[in-house]
Symmetry: C2
Subunit: 339 residues, 2 copies
DNA sequence: ATGAAAGCGCTAACAA
DNA sequence: TTGTTAGCGCTTTCAT
């Protein structure tokens, strides 16, 4: 305990103290290495006394692989996204990887961040935000750097992806709304296009066309609660001829409901049926009981992590696309369920 | 473009292609290095063509410092925590650091994770979850590894901290509740102790004692919405003699409100005044309009990041404690404001 | 301004 | 089972 030196302690120091070679130190800290129990204990003891810790960066340099992975995500403080990230981080960690978290801000170029990850020799990158450019995706591929995209569309089959079936989402919403009472519908979705969110709205509209049901389209400024609250100002004006609305995002739906209740005293589902999408925790809260389409974050992220681990294992395997199952959740903003 | 080799390209390859030495490549990628503009361009061009990227791990090995930092957080998918983490990540990134995110699960030992960070030569660690043991804190200190704790108490002055004044929080809640109508109060807080959450509840109770006001204590199983919803079953039974309740957490408050509305048709603030703490986004939602005590996540995290950067700069500076300002937010679950 | 050489802390191939 | 040697990819004196 007398070593208050400032110098970080290296394997060399441990080796000397334990009276062995540096290799032995390395072996003592390597799973399943060829070393006698006695030596290992000797080394571990010396290491303990010196406060030695393996430098993973140096190890990675040598083994040419790090157990770092990248997670690039936007809107991290949004319920659905934070859940995704929590699960992803947890899952990676449980597999021995350490996630570097890169948050994407509205103006950012996702590709830039993916690119930054390359500097760290990460074992792979998971992105759940805007879609990186094909160019950067190509680069990853060329560098054999595993890349998995969540809900960014199939992207010309050049990266592994996990996504919901937007078509199914749109149709499901339609069915949930019209099952009991066919009527005049509406959809609200954000202005800024996004594969998954815009996609489900488009699919919904398409389905309405096919079924010959009129549908009003309300464009919000974003996918947030506040955006829903705002746009509901317009929806309120059309309340007399709309009886069902599909909000492309739960958050949007919650905002819409609160505004409509406040300014028009709307009752759900009697005056208006509402269906959201995602199934965030808040959708189930007592103030809302929102009927929605569940996109299971856990299943989604687990699938993505699995894809990534598999690709790390085998970089040349064919591209994979995991299509996520969607589940209708009937709570109290729709009139009836499937029975 | 004909180099589809599998080998990662190194500074050596770039040097050869550019017809210079490896040192020059290094210089070309180093801010303010001694290199002519002409050479730099030459190198950059060659690098571009080869798809070269500096290996930060190797660089870190050499310079003995990495721009990695650790964030260890629990309950990442909770509104307040996810906001903290989003801001922290963003802030670190904007300062050129890359955050490694370690999520702590209920059974986990925080110290273990802090310890893991040490393997990566991180520049520092921020923890916003359970408190690491004094032992690990000491170890960090010994290794001169910057460590900043958010809302974990002052911890015997051995680590930098940012925290709210729990005393003030408790008193503020008391004042908000009793300003207009003194009465019988209650407090709900989670069973599992935590410096900040338990602290404010204790302070509230203490204040009640001092002011000679009776206070009922309800212990919830956690700080979640669901826990609030559950415990409200008990609160409902006492509704006839309670007219104000302080929930140690906004989430708890929201759960309490929903349950009380559902089962006892309680109106806020007429039947019962409620004050939460944190000021998460949902507290301001139309369904709640919860009066609360704001703990500004942005200010908090910025302060923590600043502390960390300062300590990286100067490891021997005296320990710092940042006491965060609390702001009462009067919305619609209390009868009046300060005026 | 540039190049040669040494070394960061580690692991892996090879000998013994 | 253990030690020796040679790098991993980079930066950094120190000459030139």
């Amino acid at each position: 305990m007398t070593d208050d030196h400032n110098k970080p302690v290296t394997s060399f120091d441990v080796a000397r103290r334990a009276g062995v070679s540096r290799s032995m130190v390395s072996r003592a800290f390597t799973e399943g290495a060829n070393i006698s129990e006695k030596s290992r204990e000797k080394v571990l003891k010396a290491a303990e006394e010196l406060g030695y810790r393996v430098n993973f960066l140096a190890r990675g340099l040598q083994t040419r692989q790090s157990n770092l992975v990248g997670i690039v995500a936007s809107s991290l403080d949004t319920p659905f996204r934070s859940r995704q990230v929590r699960i992803a981080a947890q899952e990676f960690i449980s597999h021995g990887y350490r996630p570097i978290l890169l948050t994407v801000e509205p103006g950012d170029d996702v590709g830039q961040w993916v690119s930054v990850m390359l500097n760290y020799n990460v074992a792979g990158v998971m992105v759940t935000s805007a879609t990186p450019s094909p160019k950067i995706i190509q680069e990853c591929r060329k560098l054999r750097m595993p890349l998995v995209l969540i809900n960014r569309g199939k992207n010309q089959d050049i990266a592994d992806t996990v996504q919901i079936d937007v078509q199914q989402a749109g149709e499901l919403a339609f069915t949930m709304l019209t099952r009991s009472r066919a009527g005049r519908l509406a959809v609200v979705h954000p202005q800024i296009p996004s594969y998954s969110v815009t996609g489900r709205a488009r699919a919904f509209i398409e389905k309405c066309r096919i079924e010959n049901i009129e549908v009003d389209e309300f464009i919000s400024t974003s996918q947030s609660y506040a955006a829903g609250y705002d746009i509901a100002g317009n929806i309120g004006l059309s309340l007399d001829h709309i009886d069902g609305v599909f909000c492309a995002t739960d958050l949007l739906a919650l905002g819409v409901m609160d505004r409509l209740r406040a300014d028009w005293n709307t009752r759900f589902p009697d005056d208006l049926q509402v269906v959201g999408c995602d199934d965030i925790e808040q959708a189930g809260w007592g103030a809302y009981h929102l009927s929605t389409i569940r996109q299971d974050a856990e299943e989604q992220v687990l699938a993505a992590v699995t894809q990534m681990l598999e690709r790390i294992e085998n970089p040349d395997a064919p591209i994979q696309h995991y299509n996520q199952r969607l589940t209708p959740i009937f709570r109290k903003t729709t009139l009836s369920n499937y029975d």
